[in-house]
């Protein structure tokens, strides 16, 4: 019986004007998205590989162990996602490279490379062009896959009630739940037919180009993305049915639905994020961060100078010259090492703290934003596509892991040289043996399927939960409503 209703609904919808318009808009947007992606993505990939090559050649030209340590692993770049057309995720603003966190040369010593606070590309928002959103899948899904289901469902029950066909329908041996499920599936399938049609167009265009060949994992991610989008459409079908079951007039139900839509989809994701930060403790400003770094450095430097002076005095007062190894005083080296490594550690710690406070604020605001299903879908799609803020955090984590690896490599190399004094961070105390360029660890920014799926799981569960809530809401309302 349910299938009977579903097919009737489907036939009704598929021949309607709204289905035609829906398909037209979705296909037009998806085709645009694909064409623009083909135009911009090769350039992005080219720039990335150019930069990576330049950075690696420079890295391999360094043969001295000390230079390697002092200059660090070079710039580490974020690999552009092959699914960037799904979700832009503000990637133009987010930093795509790691930066060094300081610069000084004093007393014949130099700073040691540490990971600094990556610069955001403020040019992305500070340019003169008018504000606009990127027409990616996130845009298409969050706005249209919520708006269109409402247009299909606003009169599903209230319209039939107005015309009296609902009473007629229920006079037959059809249970209310069956009718509701039939309506739900009918509307959802109609919307999804249009959406899948557009998706096929999009993917067909994108896979024509060899530049953007999608791998097996990418297709797996795409399946999840399409599922998330379908679930989101289902959620709005359920909302539409709930409101439609509640109202007697289809006009009223449309107005209520549109206002809900405007608030939840258009306004909440923008306002809530900013609103929630109002009650958060203010973060350290850039100026304060710099001052904190400077004071910490001054402290370390004065410690170093004090120790250095006392060492000098002690040596002058002691008549006998100290035991020296190859013309170098080990205690002197030790003090230098302490200075240099402490400076690096503190710089890195302060940068990490600064960053973690900032990201905590953003993550918090994102949680508040999740009141809106549009934001949930946005975050889920961003995570699945490997863009956006989660990806940014993952990139920083990869950088940190690589830096640890890199430093371990230097220590190992130094340890393997018997002539070295094993004082890391001071030119005189380190191995002078040239390093083989092939041995230097190379940074590769790779994300696995696991990386993309795990942050999205929460969002997917939330979405399914919301879907369940609204579906049962529709049942409850419809079962108790008078026909």
């Amino acid at each position: 019986m349910i299938w009977h209703i579903v097919t009737r609904e489907l036939l009704d919808h598929l021949t309607s004007l709204r289905f035609g318009l829906t398909t037209f808009i979705l296909v037009a947007l998806m085709v645009t998205n694909a064409v623009v992606h083909l135009r911009t993505h090769p350039e992005r990939v080219r720039k990335y590989s150019e930069k990576v090559n330049a950075s690696q050649t420079e890295l391999k030209s360094r043969t001295q162990l000390y230079t390697l340590l002092q200059k660090g692993p070079g710039k580490l770049y974020k690999r552009p996602s092959s699914l960037a057309f799904i979700a832009d995720g503000g990637d133009a603003l987010l930093p795509d490279e790691s930066v060094s966190g300081g610069f000084w040369r004093l007393y014949g010593l130099a700073y040691i490379w540490s990971m600094g606070v990556p610069r955001l590309n403020m040019e992305a928002i500070g340019n003169l062009r008018p504000t606009s959103m990127v027409v990616d899948w996130v845009f298409i899904v969050t706005y249209l896959l919520s708006f269109i289901p409402l247009l299909f469902t606003f009169d599903a029950l209230s319209g039939e009630r107005e015309r009296g066909t609902l009473r007629l329908c229920l006079a037959n041996s059809i249970s209310r739940p069956a009718l509701l499920v039939g309506k739900f599936l009918g509307s959802l399938i109609t919307v999804l037919i249009a959406f899948y049609c557009a998706v096929l167009f999009n993917l067909a265009i994108i896979s024509t180009e060899s530049w953007t060949q999608l791998g097996g994992a990418d297709w797996g991610r795409l399946v999840f993305i399409v599922l998330i989008a379908s679930c989101y459409a289902g959620l709005f079908v359920a909302i539409g049915l709930t409101v439609s079951a509640m109202t007697r007039e289809s006009r009223l139900s449309l107005v209520i639905l549109l206002l809900i839509w405007v608030t939840v989809v258009v306004f909440m994701p923008s306002t809530l994020g900013t609103l929630s930060t109002k009650w958060m403790s203010p973060v350290q400003t850039h100026h304060q961060f710099q001052t904190a770094k400077d004071t910490a450095f001054d402290q370390i430097r004065s410690d170093f100078v004090n120790k250095w002076e006392t060492l000098r005095e002690r040596r002058q007062s002691a008549e006998t010259p100290q035991r020296e190894v190859a013309g170098v005083d080990p205690s002197e080296l030790e003090i230098q090492r302490e200075f240099v490594s402490k400076d690096m550690e503190i710089r890195e710690r302060l940068s990490r703290q600064h960053l973690s406070v900032q990201s905590a604020q953003v993550l918090h605001a994102r949680w508040i934003n999740r009141c809106s299903p549009a934001a949930i879908v946005q975050y889920a799609l961003e995570s699945m596509a490997g863009t956006g803020f989660n990806r940014h955090l993952q990139f920083l984590e990869h950088c940190r892991l690589h830096i640890r690896l890199f430093r371990n490599f230097i220590v190992e190399m130094d340890r393997s040289d018997p002539e070295s004094l094993h004082v890391i961070g001071v030119p005189k105390g380190m191995s002078k043996k040239p390093v083989l360029p092939e041995a230097i660890p190379i940074f590769e920014d790779k994300i696995t399927f696991q990386d993309t799926l795990s942050p999205a799981v929460v969002d997917m569960l939330l979405l399914v939960l919301l879907l369940g809530v609204f579906l049962s809401g529709a049942f409850l309302v419809f079962l108790r409503s008078e026909v």
Partner: protein, 521 residues
Amino acid sequence: MMLRTLIRQELLIHLMSARFFAAVVITLLLVVANTFVLIGVHEERLADYSQKEAVNREKVASTATYSILRLKVQRPPNPLSLFSAGLETRFGSEIDIAFDSVPALSNPIVDVRPEEEQWAFGSVPSLSSPGAPLGINNPYLYLFSQIDLVFIFQVVLSLLSLLFAYDAIAGDWETGTLRLVLSHPVGRGSVLLAKYIAAMVCLLLPVLMSLLLALIQCSFARSLQFSTDDFLRIGGIVLTTIVYLSVFYLIGLLVSTITRRAATSLMLCMFLWVILVLVYPNWSRFALNSMGDMRAEKRSADRQIAQIREEADRERDRFLANSTLKGEPPIFSGSEGLSTLFSGAGYFFLGDFPRVNLELKDAADPLALHFRRYYAFAAPLQIRSAEKVGFVGQQLVARTSLRQAQVDERLMKFSPASLYTFATAAWAGTDLDSMVDYIRAAQAYRRTLINTFHEREAFASLQWFAPNQGDVDWSILPRFDFERAEIGINAKRALPELFLLLCLNIILFMATVLIFIKVEV
């Protein structure tokens, strides 16, 4: 007489309807919530502004010589950005004012320079462009978009006006009331007019109510003060809002007269709304990139700038060759030659032009005299070449970034929603032209600064380069006061968009009337 009855009837229908009530409630809620957020943002911006001002003042006070003065000026936050944010909250506010670089809207040359060169120690900036925008401490928060009050009207009220209009004719036709109404001695035109007037009055109500609420909220926040002119500008925004909403109402009315069924009319209206308000403004910028690659242009400008620099360097070398001091350029090749003249470590930039900030042992030294002569020659030369560079840079900006922004705007103007955005930004003084105004003011300020230097003969003085030869009197610095454009200019800038909206109105109304007169009832 009949017209008035019709209007009264339509008004009552609208005002009593649940859709009107719901829409008003939502508009008010959104406006109140967003005003709350926006006032907070504005306060943050103000705090940031005054903090940066204080830091800049301190920096100037601790600057010891004229030549290393790096003055920073800021654009004070515009309170009307609450209504229409435009570029105001995104575009940088702080700009460097120096005698050897000219302020510009942006610095497109940066794109074509290799990265190492950009950050190279001692490289002379060719153009100074505004830095980060005021306000947000945590730049990651830019990931969340902000909305202004105008955006609420743009989205919610345009939707409402379509909801008023979609069944205005088609609905009456379906229910048969249209035939009934027209059986009275009333012209078809007046029926349309009555519907139009009633709907516009109903739409105006939420606009005025929410604006009043927003203004009341603003009056509680002490940081926001509107002048009389600002109120007039807000009036301009209201006027534009009415014209904009009227466009959408008329679109709905036109669709409603063309279609026979309210349901069809509704679907057409909804999809038109999605396309005009939501899709097209974003799509046009995303999909149409008519500017193409501008790197070649930028590179050629970069070369031109390098040439100007080389010329200046040659002129400097000529001067040094003819000077009483021997050597190739004698003073600046390294620090050895300076040890007799200077003590103490300081700035020593070996860029295109040296910027010396060293302590002088003996002011009467003939070398010191030579330095004064050198700078009396070199500083004006630097100013001249900076102005040439500035000219090239500004032409480049006009051809690249500025033109791109203008092309984007022009493309977006095919949608009435974007016309509305740009017109209100022009009223509020947050549009592109206002940013250009700001850069002009900064340029004018730089010229006054240079004139002040000239008056004081700063270039030839010891204080130009030596920090220990008497304090520089920084009270001579002219104040930077950026005045927003006058309201007349705002109105003039909003006029083209307003005019287009009005034209749309007239065309739509004429079309509706013509079709309605011919339509069979």
